[in-house]
């Protein structure tokens, strides 16, 4: 038991939770935005990989870190546009298109990376984001260390949760976005073009996914390797269901998953004699349990995965 208290009592554990959670928050918000307008985006795994690569490459070529994040966002948006064009005006199967984009974007990322960095046994590194203490607040004992001594992108992710929630529930645009995912015919009848709105939202959501990927190379690991996203994208897709398509709950879900992850990392070293793979499984197992508990009452967007064509019902 004392091992548990040691782990849970350490600032590092909670600080790590937010750090591990950041790409998940960004990715989950991205999927959430896409699904809110009615489009499943299984391209996330590949889009995150591409964001990780292109963000890293930008910084490695001499640009500053925020430019790297921006380029990763734009790169994500570009793949989002591809996904949107295939699924919205053409109305192709969103599963197949999304998986195709994941496979394509992952391979393409590695290809570009190898073109830029032809040979190296040791992947080159960049100087990553450093924790930025927020004056005064970071001096609060414990909580200050956990919340206010993070890197810039983590703050950005937390702010984006609030921004997305505000946009969705407090602005005319958000109502139109939600309507696009519930009943695009109704939106069209009110004189707003669901096609354009959906394309725009998918691009914005994919930009968030790209930035989530870039966090991995620009704040967590400092270098790029092709398998680094490691299913985080899929977790985000599940977290959106867990969150019932609500931004605040998405934050909660991402942090919960990150908590399990940070926890098992520490358990691995604290508990001996148990194969570490068992601990690795823990967050995923607990995610499934949480999903069962939370998602049963979820209110799915009614037009999710239904292509919109004018005059057809």
């Amino acid at each position: 038991m004392s091992v548990l208290f040691d782990i849970l009592g350490a600032v590092g554990m909670w600080e790590a939770m937010l750090r591990i959670g950041t790409p998940l928050i960004l990715g989950t918000l991205g999927v959430l935005l896409c699904e809110r307008v009615g489009v499943l985006n299984l391209g996330i795994e590949g889009i995150m990989t591409f964001g990780a690569m292109v963000g890293w490459l930008t910084v490695f070529s001499g640009a500053d870190l925020w430019t790297g994040m921006l380029v990763a966002g734009l790169g994500g948006a570009a793949f989002g546009l591809l996904h949107a064009l295939l699924t919205v005006p053409l109305g192709l199967s969103q599963h197949v298109t999304g998986l195709g984009i994941t496979l394509f974007a992952s391979s393409f990322s590695y290809y570009v990376f190898r073109l830029a960095i032809p040979t190296s046994s040791q992947p080159p590194t960049v100087e990553p984001f450093r924790p930025a203490d927020i004056p005064v607040l970071s001096d609060i004992p414990f909580l200050g260390q956990v919340l206010f001594s993070q890197t810039g992108p983590t703050y950005l992710a937390l702010v984006l949760v609030v921004v997305l929630a505000w946009v969705l529930y407090r602005t005319p645009l958000g109502l139109a976005l939600r309507m696009a995912g519930e009943n695009p015919h109704a939106l069209d009848a009110q004189g707003i073009d669901p096609i354009r709105l959906r394309i725009g939202a998918i691009m914005a959501g994919s930009a968030l996914m790209g930035m989530g990927g870039a966090f991995l190379t620009l704040a967590a690991f400092n270098s790029f390797f092709p398998t680094m996203v490691q299913g985080r994208g899929w977790i985000c897709v599940a977290l959106v269901v867990f969150a019932s398509w609500k931004p605040a709950r998405a934050l909660l879900g991402a942090l919960l998953f990150a908590f399990f992850d940070a926890f098992q990392l520490r358990l691995q070293t604290a508990v001996e004699g148990v194969p570490y793979q068992l601990f690795l499984m823990l967050p995923y197992l607990l995610s499934i349990v949480a999903l069962i508990v939370m998602a049963r009452r979820a209110r799915v967007p009614q037009a999710l995965m239904q292509p919109y064509r004018r005059g057809e019902r």
């Binding site: 005319p172 309507m179 519930e182 009943n183 015919h185 009110q190 004018r310 005059g311």
Partner: protein, 511 residues
């Protein structure tokens, strides 16, 4: 009178098909115009052009003297035209206020003016008597309430001209009456209305003027006061349509008997101690305002659910197993109330829908394999014999119009030669020509010796087809009276729960 809307020379073609051909019509302030026509006459296309969903090949739309740019819904909304769609354009997961406010504010403004929106909605709903809770989820509303929300949506956009596409298609008779009272009140407030319909009685009772559309052309225009139902029917269909007359019945043995049946809950209203007898070669009509247990009664007789108490006897034998295969095997044919949800599977082909109910019979399958040849031949025969237009054996059934879908269902049911036919609201949503066709088939089945249990809320239909009529009220069934002694007034009383006359007749007959 001020002319608020004018359509001139509208022509619209889809390929070789002319949906609208040189259509002109106008609307004055405070007027209710009915646009009458059969399914496929081009009514909805015309209104979609007016509302900017389609662009006309030629022709002009003028609202209050100003020309509308073609193909832009936004422009129509801003000019004060509101459309209430036949299939509601609502999002069930959102609140009433959300649904009403969508698209009414500048898209990029940083904050939605919810409080002002709510105040406006509440004011409108009070002014026009369209009561609805702004914070209720649309999913929790009844069909009638959903329609109120649709109308409020248009009014919220400051519509001065309202277009309603078959507004009563999904409403019960009572709700429809309420709707037309509301519409009349709206004209008093200066609104002008066009409603699309193929139902003669509501056109006669609710409009000031009727424009009749047939095969995309305006064939006539009449002041409602100066025309008659018969004239309109003929104008609409293009020939004289008469519902078939009922030949005298030759009732045989009792085929179906309900003894004190009770069932709670299923399909809405409960049944309480329902008893009836249906003989071979007769039609027993069950009349009632919908929601009084009709769906439950039809479901019980069709084998969907067992009764909580009481017995159902088929051919004198008490039914023990209540499921659909047993019901079909016992010779019960079913025409379900909702042909889209229960009668057919929209995305499956015509032949699959035709044989699905009897897929296990040796005629359509052998050793677990479907006999496609036999199934397709049977479907072709039904399409031919029942004149199902627009159907191909392999085409998806959802592409059929309501009338043709109903013909196919009739065909598939009657093809099996059922002894007992349960027909629930068999002509709901159909136009005059199609109704006559359905009635003919039902009379034919009766002539062949089948017992027909006709459940309907259409008085004319029940009086026209039934040999005996009973009313269903609050899950109870009145005594059956002979049709030749029934009239609209008496049935009205029975539907309202006054059964004294019916009971008297029953006692007199018993003596």
């Amino acid at each position: 009178m001020t002319r608020v809307l004018e359509l001139t020379g509208i022509t619209k073609r889809f390929g070789a098909l002319a949906a609208n051909e040189d259509v002109s019509l106008h609307l004055d302030r405070g007027e209710i115009v009915a646009l009458l026509g059969e399914n496929g006459a081009g009514k909805t296309t015309l209104m979609s052009i007016l509302f900017g969903h389609y662009t006309a090949d030629s022709g002009l739309v003028k609202v209050e003297g100003r020309e509308l740019p073609p193909g832009r819904s936004r422009a129509a909304i801003q000019a004060g035209v509101g459309m209430v769609h036949q299939h509601f354009a609502l999002a069930p997961n959102l609140t009433v206020l959300d649904n009403v406010m969508t698209g009414t504010e500048r898209l990029w403004s940083p904050r939605s003016a919810r409080a002002a929106g709510r105040a406006k909605l509440v004011a409108l709903s009070e002014r026009f008597g369209l009561r609805v809770d702004p914070d209720a989820l649309v999913a929790d509303l009844s069909v009638g309430e959903c329609q109120r929300v649709e109308i409020l949506k248009a009014l919220y956009n400051d519509a001065r001209i309202l277009i309603l596409d078959e507004p009563t298609a999904v409403l019960t008779a009572q709700e429809a009456e309420g709707l037309f009272a509301t519409l009349r009140q709206m004209t008093a407030e200066g609104l002008s209305l066009i409603f699309i319909s193929h139902k003669l009685h509501e056109v006669m009772s609710a409009s000031d003027r009727v424009v009749v559309l047939r095969r995309g052309r305006v064939v006539a225009e009449r002041r409602t006061a100066e025309t008659s139902r018969a004239e309109l029917a003929e104008l609409m269909v293009g020939r004289k349509v008469e519902r078939p007359a009922r030949p005298p019945a030759t009732p045989g043995k009792v085929l179906l008997e309900g003894v004190d049946l009770s069932l709670a809950g299923h399909g809405g209203a409960s049944l309480h101690g329902v008893s009836f007898r249906l003989r071979a070669g007769e039609t027993l009509g069950v009349i009632g305002v919908s929601g009084n247990g009709q769906t439950t009664l039809a479901g019980l007789v069709s084998g969907l659910y067992p009764p909580d108490a009481g017995e159902l006897l088929v051919d004198g034998q008490a039914v023990r197993v209540f499921d659909v295969p047993h019901a079909i095997a016992a010779g019960i044919g079913r025409i379900p109330e909702d042909r889209n949800a229960e009668g057919t599977i929209g995305d499956m082909s015509t032949w699959e829908n035709t044989v699905l109910e009897r897929i296990w019979s040796p005629r359509f399958s052998r050793r677990g394999m479907v006999r496609r040849g036999a199934a397709r031949r049977a479907t072709e025969e039904i399409i031919r014999d029942y004149d199902v237009r627009g159907a191909s054996v392999d085409g998806r059934i959802r592409l059929l119009s309501g009338g043709n879908m109903q013909k196919l269902i009739l065909g598939r049911v009657l093809d099996a030669g059922p002894d007992i036919l349960v027909a629930a609201q068999p002509s709901r949503g159909l136009d005059e020509g199609a109704i006559a066709g359905v009635h003919e088939r039902l009379l034919e089945a009766r002539g062949r010796g089948a017992g027909v249990l006709l459940i309907s809320e259409d008085l004319d239909e029940v009086i026209g087809l039934s040999d005996r009529i009973c009313a269903i009220v609050g899950g109870r069934l009145s005594p059956a009276i002979p049709a030749d002694r029934a009239d609209a007034r008496m049935l009205g009383l029975m539907m309202a729960g006054d059964w004294s006359a019916a009971e008297q007749m029953e006692r007199a007959d018993a003596v």
